[in-house]
């Protein structure tokens, strides 16, 4: 059991400030996902927690102890890297056992622990192999095995799925979710740029932009109540439509946001009307790209669509799902 507490964390490289005054409370046993566009500082924040990077100012606590100056190996954390960082010249067994070896554990105990982890991750028959003889999914499991075997209180994941192909990614996502179930007491911090991963796996999501925390909340909170244009645009696929001008002014907002699935079609002309430019048919859904006076809008229709390209369409947002944003792009409640 270990909670993580970040208080006013700043991190600079030279004059470039990567992390700006981040404060965060991660509860013990929570699965938390840092998400944001590339360069937002999410990986740096993770590396600061791991101790691979030193924070410039602020306090970092793990398990209620300040760890600012504690080296990575003494923080009780384990890390799964994007590249997995498996030692190419060591067998799977040696890879998993390396940390135990460094702790000076007796050989027999290392063997027992590694074999137990191997069994848990279905790697038993691969223990003598070198990493290069493993498939992508198996490598991922070895990387996770290295984290598990140490009994770390905190697992840190740095975009672990981004090297896998789409099918494998879905499978590994499920495996990590299952791992979380099997280790309910382990706090997990997971970094990704993929909002789908964030939505599907997280207990809570931390959205970062340009080194700042934009919003923290459960996936549905972020989806339903984004606190800013940025978060609203980042969470959800396809992206939320942002409409300015008359329709927004009518609702006393600078901008209103409507998700593609939250439009209705009207027979009579509305404030938002335009021509259907292009249609993408996915089978389960159809995406309609409508060119309007406020820009291109995306509309989602379940199943097939009856509308033809070039047809004039009148769109009406469903009132209860309209998000209003003020002058500073923050949500108006």
């Amino acid at each position: 059991m270990a909670n993580i507490k970040l208080t006013n964390i700043n991190k600079s490289y030279g004059s470039a400030q990567i992390i700006k005054d981040v404060s965060l409370d991660i509860k013990s046993g929570e699965f938390i996902v840092f998400v944001g566009p590339s360069g937002c500082g999410k990986s740096t924040l993770l590396r600061s927690i791991s101790g691979l990077d030193q924070v410039t100012s602020g306090t970092l606590e793990i398990d209620n102890a300040v760890v600012n100056d504690v080296p990575p190996s003494k923080r009780g954390i384990a890390m799964v890297f994007q590249s997995y960082a498996l030692y190419p010249h060591m067998s799977v067994f040696e890879n998993i056992g390396f940390a135990l070896e460094n702790q000076g554990l007796p050989r027999a105990e290392i063997k027992k622990k590694v074999e137990a982890v191997g069994e848990m991750l279905q790697l038993t028959s691969y223990l003598t192999r070198l990493p290069k003889a493993l498939s992508g999914g198996q490598r991922q499991r070895v990387a996770i095995g290295r984290a598990i075997v140490r009994g770390a209180k905190v697992f840190l994941f740095d975009e672990p799925l981004s090297n896998l192909d789409a099918a494998l990614r879905v499978q590994m996502r499920m495996e990590i979710a299952k791992l979380k179930r099997d280790l309910p007491n382990t706090t997990m911090v997971y970094v990704t740029h993929d909002q789908v991963e964030a939505m599907t796996m997280a207990d809570r999501i931390v959205v970062l932009q340009a080194g700042r925390v934009m919003q923290v909340g459960t996936p549905m909170e972020l989806y339903e109540n984004p606190n800013s244009v940025f978060v609203a645009g980042f969470i959800g696929s396809p992206k939320m439509n942002f409409i300015t001008g008359l329709p927004a002014e009518k609702l006393k907002a600078k901008t209103i946001g409507v998700r593609p699935e939250h439009f209705e079609f009207s027979k009579t002309p509305t404030d938002i009307s335009g021509t259907l430019d292009y249609t993408e048919v996915l089978g389960s859904d159809s995406f309609l790209y409508v060119s309007t006076s406020t820009g291109m809008l995306t509309v989602r229709e379940p199943g097939r669509t009856q509308y033809k390209t070039g047809q004039k369409l009148n769109l009406k947002p469903i009132a209860e799902h309209v998000h209003r944003f003020g002058q500073d792009d923050s949500s108006l409640k």
Binding site: S73, A78, M79, F98, A99, Q103
Partner: protein, 386 residues
């Protein structure tokens, strides 16, 4: 790469052009190797390029004595073979004669008329028949015969025996090994640790240290000799030990080899994936352990490259060994020995060629068996680093 554009007639010209260049490049070494295997008289008598074809050699011999004469049909004959008494000479006789002025006056197999009505026939295989109408007396027995023999190519290992065991090359060979092996391993070890520190460890002045090392790459070696020699003498006197020791020469080679070694290894080690090093840090390995268990096994190719460089450089070095190691028989290295022979045995090509070949055979073997690593090191050392 250009395969697709090449024209067929030009391919033949291309092959020939490359063959000519290769011939130009290998001829000097081939001359050395072939000469070292020839008889010392042959080396002096004819060019090495004739060694593979039969050579015509003018020889002289003595015919048998009167005691061997046989009387037959009123004539007296002495028969034998010109090659019998001639040491180590064999082959085919193309011509013969009895006067020194015309050693090849008569083609083989023809009858030559001598004084007193005597006749002589020497056949191609060297057998001869000397015929006389009267009995041979003391006066005309044991006469001289001259002949032109065409000899097949002859090769011998005698030169090697000479240089290895009586010219001191064998001893120098061991001295060279004594110098070379530690002078290769020590800088590898020292440079690898330094390269790791400069690539992955947090330390002040890192950039400055790297810049200095790169700068030292081009310092002319000769200029360090005097200051170092003074230092060695002072240290030797101070500690009461001889100033010219194997330890001294190892350290000198290490010092001179370090800039390149650190430069080469650092760029390789810095290129290892960052994740690996950090993963090991999180796994609780200290830098010594990371170096030993993760970095060292992974930079084996770079270590091999440098090892070959340093080996060749130390083995082939003349100057450092001359200056820092004595010239006594149990210290003189191969290159030094060869240089000494160049002075003292300047005309004895059989000694020089065999000695030279002994000195170059080791680097050539190393070079051909480990060429891959050597080339890789060259590329890393110059193309990438520039």
């Amino acid at each position: 790469m250009l395969k697709r554009f090449s024209l067929e007639p030009s391919r033949i010209a291309l092959n020939i052009a490359v063959l000519i260049i290769i011939a130009l490049w290998t001829f000097p070494t081939a001359g050395l190797l072939i000469s070292s295997l020839r008889d010392k008289n042959d080396i002096a008598a004819s060019g090495w390029w004739t060694a593979l074809s039969s050579a015509d050699v003018a020889k002289k011999g003595r015919l048998k004595d009167k005691v061997d004469q046989v009387e037959k049909d009123g004539k007296f004959t002495i028969s034998g073979n010109v090659f019998e008494g001639a040491d180590g000479v064999s082959g085919k006789v193309s011509a013969f004669g009895t006067k020194v002025q015309a050693p090849g006056g008569n083609p083989a197999g023809t009858v030559a008329t001598l004084d007193n009505g005597q006749t002589l026939v020497v056949n191609v295989d060297g057998s001869y028949v000397l015929t006389s109408p009267t009995k041979f007396t003391d006066e005309d027995s044991g006469g001289r015969v001259f002949y032109i023999a065409s000899q097949p190519p002859r090769f011998t290992l005698e030169n090697y025996q000479t240089v290895l065991f009586s010219e001191g090359i064998g001893r120098s060979f061991i001295n060279s090994l004594t110098v070379t092996i530690p002078a290769t391993i020590i800088p590898i070890l020292i440079a690898a640790f330094a390269a790791y520190a400069l690539a992955w460890m947090k330390l002040p002045f890192r950039g400055l240290i790297i810049a200095i090392i790169v700068g030292l790459l081009v310092v002319p070696l000769q200029m360090s000799l005097i200051p170092l020699l003074k230092l060695y003498n002072a240290a030797g006197t101070f500690m009461g030990v001889p100033s010219k020791t194997y330890l001294g020469v190892w350290l000198a080679h290490t010092g001179f080899g370090l800039p390149f070694a650190i430069y080469l290894l650092r760029s390789y080690i810095a290129g290892l994936p960052k994740d690996l090093i950090e993963s090991a840090q999180i796994d609780g390995a200290n830098d010594f352990k990371i170096f030993r268990r993760v970095v060292l096994p992974l930079c084996f190719p770079a270590l091999a490259s440098f090892a070959i460089f340093q080996f060749l450089w130390v083995w082939n070095d003349l100057l450092v060994a001359i200056v820092f190691l004595g010239s006594g028989p149990d210290q003189l290295v191969l290159t030094g020995k060869l240089n000494a022979l160049l002075g003292s045995r300047g005309g004895n090509w059989e000694i020089l060629t065999a000695s030279a070949f002994v000195t170059i055979i080791v680097p050539l073997t190393v070079f051909f068996s480990l060429q891959r690593y050597f080339v890789r090191g060259l590329l890393a050392g110059s193309v990438k680093g520039g």
